[in-house]
Assembly symmetry: C2
Homo-oligomer: 190 residues x 2
DNA sequence: TGGATAATAGTACGAGCGTTCGCAATTCTT
DNA sequence: AAGAATTGCGAACGCTCGTACTATTATCCA
């Protein structure tokens, strides 16, 4: 299916230039197709963007979420989630992360794309939250652990990784994310 | 000076729509001026963007940095820096923060604007780093404190604040940033 | 083999962008 | 008061964008 191939390249372009920077003309060039040929596969540019977001979400789930839930519930699963997340972002240092760039692009731009992005990021944070709760229920973390706070700080470590490595290009950011996570867990450990 | 008034409005627009979203036509509308009238004050759009970035930096310094260095060096100063920083970002939840949106917009777009942004953010991180070093020298923090790691995590807390409050619109993010900072300091305290 | 069906190309349009240029109005200088 | 310099306006240019419409080519089924 040509459509799938187009979406694949579109995801690549959107990762680099942002969802708003994704343009049909450039996409057609990369595909060696005409603009109208590419356009015909999607009803509108917004539809194309939405499909790209959904594709990214599927990739993220497949690479980070699903393999992690195979780990034993509680702290090991939470650790796996963070480790795979870091690994994913460390690859995206070269290409860009749509969750993060999308969060900035659509923080004040209403519409279906923003809604799609918000619901996906919220779903991921929800998964982390459930996992953190289970970790306290299993007795891996202290009983009075504030799971929301834990997820908040995990997200901060990832955002800082993206910022320092991709924008400022500071080496060693990867290790800093891991060190931060270990310190975080050490604080909440039972 | 009309130029200063234009820059003021331009900063507002760039905060909302990003530096790349800043357009001369919209700016002219907001100023009740013609496009060419606005344009004449700057040699090019890029110059306008650069001036906006510099203006933002001056505001940031004035509001966050300068008042903080009046505090006693070491931990009190570091605390003041973070507190004022949080306060500033909490205001920017409504308007947007150019350091953060700029980091995403220009992480892969070479040119003078990226360079300006990088040098400014690096300067701010440098100031935090020096302050953290002084805090260990003063004996406020443990002697083996990794200042880079500390700054990294502080930055993460701020990024998470911006993300959760402005994009996801989760209430209580402000408190989470403060709680995270306190836990951070508690870890590194002498 | 021929005719419906889908996929791609080509062209054109209208809008918005940054930018240029010439002209009017205002302000400053002497 | 006259001339120079600044400041703003309006129209136009060339470009790129998303999109619509029409043809052409390929595919597949009877």
């Amino acid at each position: 299916m040509t459509r799938a191939a187009i979406l694949d390249v579109a995801l690549d372009l959107a990762s680099r230039d942002g969802l708003e920077g994704l343009t049909i003309g450039l996409l057609a060039d990369r595909m060696n197709m005409s603009k109208s040929g590419v356009f015909a596969h999607f009803g509108s540019r917004e539809d194309l963007q939405l499909e790209v977001v959904k594709l990214y979400h599927r990739r993220f789930e497949q690479e980070v979420f699903y393999p992690s839930v195979k780990e034993p519930r509680g702290l090991p699963r939470l650790r796996a989630m963070f480790a795979r997340w870091v690994k994913r972002v460390s690859v995206e240092i070269a290409s860009g992360c749509i969750y993060i760039s999308g969060a900035v692009e659509y923080d004040d731009r209403p519409g279906p794309i923003r809604e799609e992005l918000v619901s996906m990021v919220a779903a991921w944070q929800g998964a982390l939250l459930r996992c953190a709760h289970q970790a306290t229920e299993c007795g891996h973390l202290k009983a009075d652990t504030d799971a929301q706070q834990l997820v908040y700080e995990m997200y901060g470590l990832i955002l800082a990784l993206h910022h320092d490595a991709r924008f400022l290009r500071i080496p060693g950011s990867l290790e800093r994310a891991s060190v931060g996570f270990e310190r975080l867990i050490e604080n909440y450990k039972a």
